[in-house]
Amino acid sequence: MEAALSTILSPIILFFILGLVAALFRSQMNVPEAFAKGLAIYLMMAIGLKGGVEMAKNPMTGEIALVFAAGIGLSFFIPMVAFFLLRASSKLDITNVAAAAAHYGSISIVTFVAAGEAVELAGFQASGHLVAVAALMETPAIITALFLAARYGATKGPVAGSERGELVREVLLNASVVVLVGALLIGWIVGTEGMVKVAPFFVTPFQGVLCLFLLDMGLAAGRGLREGWRQLDIGTIAFGLYMPIVSALITATVAWAIGMSTGDAAILITLAASASYIAVPAAMRLALPKAKPSVYLTLSLGITFPFNVTIGIPFYIALATLVTG
């Protein structure tokens, strides 16, 4: 409870709420796209470096290999659950359901960071390897979703003008995969010493940059929420709220089964419960162009993201404490 309160009252979350409220009141303010994208690259570099340095300190163990496998497995599996639940609870067609499912199997790196902060505040420790897990969980979900879409007849042959490898490049070499994995490797190579010179840029101001970034996320979430409310049926909206909990429960079971530490479990649960709003939407425009961004973006950015960042994370930490305690 106290942990929840101190999460909510951190400047980072307060700036998120500021953006959310401003957008709900229809403020026209925005953070320019080019600036926000630049910040996003900074954040991924910082996260990757930090994780890489941690990984260099703590060598890979069998236990961690299990977490890797769990992460990848969850990213493959969760879209199936999401697919059947959303099909049952909404009136959306197969294409939209498959596209939304892909988002929920993949992850949100900002939610990951917010969870990292909250976990530390709650007095737990998460290992650096989880950055790698996050990177690995970005894409498998897309494969499952496309498989389901094909299986249920929602895809045709390749679209006119499409090129072999175009989708694979978009999925495996998008900015977040390249920068996250690259920075992770670099952090791992240079280690603690190598970080000294770049820490004043990538470590010290990190939390502050996050405030600015979350202001923008709040604005985006608020706008998504306002639009979504008008356009989505109640079953779809409900999915945005119960799906993260379903993923969290599945993941908590896995974390319990493989005996993770509390900190790591809290992060893995959050990753599973989070939904993508940059990498997967881009992939969906190419792979399932008939799926509507207004559906999947409203769900992941307008409903699930705010839910996770405010209520979800404290709950996931509690859940992790329960299953690992």
Binding site: E33, A160, G161, A220, A282
Partner: protein, 101 residues
């Protein structure tokens, strides 16, 4: 003064390379892609600086070519526009060095 065709294709930004490949396959001499800022269609609106994913962005592609090439481009494009959101129009324009197109 000679008459040529101006193709204007308003299409999703994520699909512009697909449209480009189609233009190239029918041998247009060139095309230019222009970013859009906002748009409205079927009761829905989008705005560039307000969508963190960029997945609703549109662009306008303009290509100047001869009538025959334009027709071929149109034909090929129709299947792309069956999948992606887009609007294609053709109009007559006067050009200076007709051999270029």
């Amino acid at each position: 003064m000679h008459t040529r065709k101006r193709i204007e294709l308003i299409i999703e930004k994520m699909a512009y390379k697909r449209a480009g490949r189609i233009f190239e396959s029918v041998n247009v001499s060139g095309y230019t892609v222009i970013p859009a800022l906002a748009g409205y269609g079927n009761g829905n609106k989008w705005q560039r600086d307000q969508d963190i994913s960029g997945s609703r962005d549109m662009v306008m592609i303009v290509s100047i070519c001869d009538a025959e090439t334009a027709e071929k481009a149109l034909e090929q494009m129709s299947s792309l526009l069956g999948e992606h959101v887009g609007v294609i129009t053709i109009s007559d324009v006067t050009v200076m060095r007709p051999e270029r197109f």
